[in-house]
């Protein structure tokens, strides 16, 4: 393989994987011994190898979410050895490589655990709760007319940078998975502050934060205890600052909004 490390020795591993037939049935951890895993593989490639084996043996392959496999889509998940997206900081599971594990390791792989993220099958969870929070206000509905000239609307660089940092959230749900209360506040705050900082988003800032926070509660996520676990596990480094910004938005919206509902 081009670019592979010739000194990397293949590893033998023991996997403990959560298997669950569907939403209704109870699941359990199933042990799979694996031999000759290359340290150059990504974690998902390692699972592909296992699934290949399972197919050949006539067993049901393990269902897991994945899409771009380059760390930008937010589709992959997996709670690996007690950590969201595995032991490395600032990385998605698809960008986690087997060289971060050792020969002989036992690796536990579980789905995100949250009432708001029910398990569909095996390691696949339903994250549509995030979509519904977005639909509650994570957009701009004002008619902005034709395309304005570049730089016609002045936005200070520091604000533009902060909004862009918040916008890097890929909605993977690691924050919920890592939080002891399964709180979605880091995700929601990234979506709220990303828009409320920019001129186009400011017109709807009050209703946005009110509706998105209300939807977050309806979906059954827990509350925030400020442990900071979410930001520590976030693969794209969304900052806790966003949560505090959303709280200011929320308090000022509740104090001044015309929306009495």
């Amino acid at each position: 393989m081009a670019g592979s490390n010739p000194n990397a020795k293949p590893m033998d591993l023991t996997l403990k994987v959560w298997r669950q037939k569907n939403r209704e049935t109870a699941g359990q951890l199933v042990t799979y011994p694996m031999k000759g895993i290359s340290p150059d593989m990504s974690f998902l490639e390692m699972l592909d190898v296992l699934n290949d084996d399972l197919s050949v043996r006539g067993e049901e392959p393990i269902a897991f979410d994945h899409d771009c496999r380059e760390g930008i889509c937010g589709m992959c998940s997996l709670f690996i050895n007690g950590r969201a997206h595995g032991p490395e900081r600032g990385t998605t599971t698809c960008q986690l490589h087997m060289r971060h594990f050792n020969d002989g390791d036992t690796i536990t792989i579980e789905p995100w655990r949250a009432a708001a993220f029910p398990v569909h099958k095996d390691l696949v969870v339903d994250r549509s709760a995030f979509d519904r929070i977005q639909q509650a206000g994570g957009y701009i509905s004002v008619n902005t007319g034709g395309v304005p000239d570049a730089n016609e609307i002045p936005i200070p660089k520091i604000i533009a940078d902060k909004a862009f940092d918040a916008a890097t959230c890929i909605g993977c749900g690691a924050c919920v998975a890592a939080c002891k209360n399964a709180s979605a506040i880091l995700f929601v705050s990234a979506k709220v502050s990303q828009m409320s900082m920019l001129p186009q988003g400011k017109t709807e800032r009050k209703t946005r934060v009110e509706n998105m926070v209300a939807q977050m509660d309806i979906e059954g996520f827990g509350s925030c205890t400020n442990t900071g676990a979410c930001a520590a596990e976030c693969p794209v480094g969304i900052s806790l600052e966003n949560i505090n910004m959303m709280r200011r938005e929320f308090i000022s919206a509740k104090a001044t909004s015309e929306n009495l509902a």
């Binding site: 403990k16 709670f79 050895n81 007690g82 655990r113 925030c224 442990t227 676990a229 929320f250 308090i251």
Partner: protein
Amino acid sequence: MGRKIVMSITGLFLCSFLVVHLIGNLQLFNNDGGEAFNIYSRFMGTNPIIRTMEFVLLAGFAFHIYDALVLTRRNKAARPIGYANNHPEQNSTWSSRNMGLLGTVILVFLIIHLWNFFVPARFGGLEGVVIDDVEYENLYLRVVESFQVWWYVAIYVVAMFALAYHLIHGFQSAFQTLGLDHKKYTPFIQMFGYAFSVIVCFGFAIIPLYFFFFFR
């Protein structure tokens, strides 16, 4: 999020009570046979402003505890099935994850503490003592006697450790919950909160230890 705001405001209010309580208690070190402390105790029990604040304080505790219960129930329900393998110690501090446990320890302590000092002081049951021809209730004597018992002293010291850890997370967390976050001031709030927690709890813990070791 509304309930968290109530948690933070009541939490900070209860912090302010700790300061008043500790400063008053420092009179126990006066070495005057308890005169200053007993006079102070009468004042705290009879002054109408203090008596009113007593109810505000009670409400502060009630809201803080009630909201904690509601939020904890909701948070537990948010994750009905836990992880078989979980390593939260790699992404957060122990105290931040165990505020409920620490709070419960503090509540149990509070009940013992009130039963032993507040209830007899408020509702009668203390011996009398005459200071300058005026009869006072001798709360000081109760303090001295209580802190001769080793396990009673131990309860206080353990409870103050729990309170310190509760505050180390809680103080700065309360500011975050209110959205009070600033590149310049937040590091100061965190440092102040840490120092506040350690100093206040050390100040309280030193009282039973002082009477146990130096007042026999």
